[in-house]
Amino acid sequence: MENPQHSQDVRIVRATSAFDCGGRCPLLLHVKDNKIIRIEGDDHPDSDRQLRTCLRCRAYRKYVHHPERLMHPQKRAGAKGEGKFERISWDEALSILSDKLKETKDKFGPESILLMTGGGYLASLHSGSMAAPRLLNQFGGYTTHYGNISSEGAVWASLVQYGSVMVGHSREDMLNSKLIILWGWDPARMISGSNTMHHLLKAKENGARVISVEPRYTDTAAAVADKWIPIYPGTDTAMMAAMAYVMITEDLHDQAFLDKYTIGFDKFKEYILGDEDGQAKTPQWAEAVCGVPAETIADLAREYAAAKPAALMDCQGPARSAMGEQYCRFAATLSAMTGNVGKPGGSACGGLMGIPIGHMFRMSAIPPGKNPVEMTGPKIKGTLDIRDRVIKRIHINKLWEAILEGKAGGFPADVKMAWSMCNNYLNQIGNANKGDKALKKLPFFAVNEIFMTAQARYADLLLPVTTAAERSDLTYAWPSGPYYTFVNRAIEPLGECKSDLEICEMLSDYLGVKDYRLGAKEDDILKHMVDQNPVTSKYVTDFDKFKNDGIHRIELKEPYIAFRKQIEDPENNPFDTPSGKIEIYSQRVADINSPKCPPVPKYIPTFEDRNDPLFEKYPLQLLTPHPRNRVHSEMYKVEWLREAEPHVLWIHPKDAEARGVSNGDDIQAFNDRGRVALKAFVTQRIKPGVVCMFEGAWYQPDENGIDRGACANTLTKDDYSGGGAAVMNTSLVQVAKA
C-alpha cells in the first residue's frame, strides 16, 4: 500500500480551523495535489502540553472536501425555500447583488438593507463580519442586529458586576482548587478552551472535590464529579439564593471580603432574608422552585463556604434563558460572599471564562468605520439598557419578527433585502418556523455560504465561500489562549469559492466604492495586523516564526487570575465599575428601572417556566446545549462526525414511560412554535421533567411542517431577557411517540 506520507509531494501545513468553537487547536494538515489527505494534532514535544483537538477538527478534511460544498455562484430557480438553484457567473452574481443594494438604498433608504454577519468564521482578515460592515459603511449604511446568541447574559452580568468581560482564570489554575462546582458547565463537549478538560481531570486527580449542578449528568460530570445535583432549567438563581440564605443565617460568609471589595451586599441581604418582598429565600422555598432537596442546597452552601479556595464555574449556557444574566450575577455574588474572587483556585464567575491573552475580543481587525444609519442613534457603548440598543438595531433573536413586522412592529426599519454570512441564522436563532415565514416574505436575500445550509435554501442569490483551509489568517479561541494561532493556507480555493473579504472586494468595484481593496499581499496584511495589535505585538515579535510554527505559545509564570490586582492592591486597582468595587447592587441597573433588571441579582419568574399556565399543555422543559460532533451547525454534513453520535432527544425513563416511549423509538417533540421528529434516548442522566436535544442539526421541514432534521430552534422562543440573553434554554414542550 502506498503511504502518502512518504511520498515527496506531501506538504505539512500548520493551521487551525476558524470555527465558532471554544477551542482553537493546532492542526498539521497533510496536503497533496491541493487536497488534505490526513491530519495530525499538535506536535509540541511535551505531550502533556499539546493542545489536542477534539473529534471535530479530526474530521476537518471531510468538511473541507465534502462533496456537497457549494462551488459556484447560483441564483434561485424555484420557489423561495425550495432549494432549487441555477449556476451563474461571478459577474452576474455581483451585478445582481450590487443592483439590489443600490436600488434598495435609493428607493427605501440604507436602513432597509439588513446585514446579518455571524461568528461562523472567527479570524481576523477574511471574516465577513468585519469585511461586509466596512464595505456597507462606505456604501451608505445598513441595519444590523445587536448581540450574539451565545453570551449576552454572561456579558451583561460581568459588565454589571465587574465592569469587565475578562473574568476567567487560565485553566491550569483549577489545580489550585479544593472544590470545583460545575454549574451548568460541560467542557468535555463544548471544549471551552483547548485542554480545559485535561486540566479539569488533573484537578480532580489532584484531590479536588467536584460537584455538578445541572439538569443533565454531563460527560464532564460523568468523568469528574463526586456528586450530581439535578436542577430544573432556569431556576439556578433560586438555589443560589437559598445558598446565600444559608451562608448569611449561619454566618458562613466572608464579611471582611464583602466590606472591602463590594458594594450593595446589605441590599442583597434584604432580598435574601425576605425583608424586601416578604419571602425569605430559605432552602425549603428554593426546593419548591428548583426541585433540589432543601438539605442538599444547605449542604452545598456549607461546603462551598468552608472549602478555600473553591471555584464556582458558571458559564454561558444557563445564562441563555429568560433571566439568564441573573444566574451569572448570582454566581459572582456567591463567589464574593465566599471570598473567592481574584484568588488562585477561586473563580470570579460571570460565565465568560476569558483571559485577555489570545482572546477573541482582542482580535486584530481592519476598522470597519462608522455606520451612517447609526450616527443619529443613542450612545450605546457600554450601555446596560437593552432598550437603547434596539433603537437602531434589531436584537439578534428578533430578526424574523423584524422582517415580518418592520417599523409597524416597533423595529428600526422595514427590511427590503438582507445579506447574510458566517451564520446559519435560520437554524441558530430562535423560532425557525417564524424564520421560514420571514425569509419567504423577504423580497431579496443574498447568502454567502460554504454548504447548502437550512438557511441557504431560502436565498435568492448564493455566493460560494472558501473554508479556512483555503486562505491564511489569524485566529483566536473565544475564551482564552494563552496563545495565538496562524492559519496557513493549505490549499488553493476549490471551485469558484472566495472568502467573504474577497467577495466584498469584488463587490466594491460593482458598487463604485473606492479604496476598499486592501491592495496588499495576504501575508503582509497579516503581519501588519500582528504588529499593530497592542496585545499581539507584545508577544509575537518574530512574525516569520509565528507563521512557520502556526502558533505562538505564551509561557505564563503563574496562572492568570482575573481581578488579582484588584484584590491584592485595591487602592491602586479599582474595578472598572462606577463605584470601583464589585457591584452586588448596581445603581446603573437600578436606573434602568425595569422589573426584568433588578439592581441586585434575583430569582424572577419568567415565561415558559414551570409556573407558566402553558406548563399544563407542555409539561417538559427543553434544554438545547452545544453538540459534540459539530460546531453549532457547522460540520453538520460530515458523516464521520454524525456516525459518532446520533441526533437524539434525552428523556428520563419516568417521562418516557408515561408516554409509552422506549429507548430508540421515533418520537416527536412539539409546542406552539413547531414540531421536530427524532429518536428518543431514554436515560437516567436527565432530571425528570426535562428533555434535551443538542443544537445545530439542520432545520428540514417536510410538507406537513414537521422538522425532520430536528433543529432545536424549531422549538425555542424568539425572545430575550432583560440583559439581552437569547432564551435558548427557556422552552416548554411536549413529547409523543411518532
Partner: protein, 186 residues
C-alpha cells in the same frame, strides 16, 4: 515483545476523537466500519448514575482466535511485536466465509464495510506511524490522555496489572494486550 494499549477509563469522556482520528489516518470510509469505537455504559438511577465509556478495537491478543478462525489464513501475528494484521488480498470477503473472524473475536474488532464482498479491516496499530516513532493516531488524538500504548511489559510497569473494567471482559482464551485503569461505581 508484545505491543499493547492502555486505557484509562476514568479519564475517557466518550468524545470519539480516537474513532475519528483512526478513520482519518487509516482512510476508513464513512459508514459503520470503524477500527476504534467507543462503547457506552449507564447504570443506576437519577441522581446516582454511573456512566463509563470503553474502547472497542483490536487488542492484538496473545492467542488471536480470529487467526485460527480464518479459513483463508489471512490473519497473522507479527513475531517481532505481536501486532495482528490482516492481508486484505487474502481475505475472502464477509459473505464468502460468513465473517468467521468477527464471530470468533470476543471484542468485535474485525470490521466490514456495508458493500458486498467487503474485506475485513481492523486496527493495524498504526504500524506506519510506529516506524516513524510516532504515537498511534488514536493515542495522539485523545485530548484527555486516556489512551497510551507500548510494549505490554512496559505498560504493566507504568500502569499496573489491571485487565478488567466495567463493560470489558478479559478473555483468558485470547489474552488481549491491554492494561486498564477501571472506573468503578462509587
Amino acid at each position: 515483545m508484545q505491543m499493547g494499549f492502555y486505557f484509562d477509563q476514568t479519564r475517557c469522556t466518550g468524545c470519539n476523537a480516537c474513532r475519528v482520528a483512526c478513520k482519518d489516518w487509516n482512510d476508513v470510509p464513512e459508514g459503520p466500519e470503524a477500527w476504534m469505537q467507543v462503547k457506552y455504559l449507564e447504570q443506576g438511577e437519577t441522581p446516582d448514575v454511573f456512566v463509563a465509556y470503553m474502547i472497542q478495537t483490536c487488542f492484538h491478543c496473545e492467542s488471536p482466535i480470529c487467526a485460527e478462525a480464518c479459513p483463508a489464513g489471512a490473519i497473522t501475528k507479527r513475531p517481532e511485536d505481536g501486532i495482528v494484521l490482516v492481508d486484505r488480498n487474502a481475505c475472502l470477503g464477509k459473505e464468502e466465509c460468513g465473517a468467521k473472524c468477527l464471530k470468533a473475536c470476543p471484542y468485535d474488532a474485525p470490521q466490514f464495510g456495508p458493500e458486498p464482498g467487503a474485506k475485513m479491516g481492523k486496527c493495524v496499530f498504526c504500524t506506519d506511524r510506529l516506524v516513524q516513532g510516532k504515537m498511534p493516531s488514536c493515542v495522539e488524538a485523545c485530548y484527555t490522555r486516556a489512551l497510551d500504548f507500548g510494549p505490554l511489559d512496559e505498560l504493566q510497569k507504568k500502569y499496573g496489572q489491571a485487565v478488567e473494567a466495567p463493560n470489558f471482559k478479559y478473555s483468558k482464551r485470547t489474552k488481549p494486550s491491554v492494561i486498564m485503569n477501571p472506573k468503578n461505581p462509587k
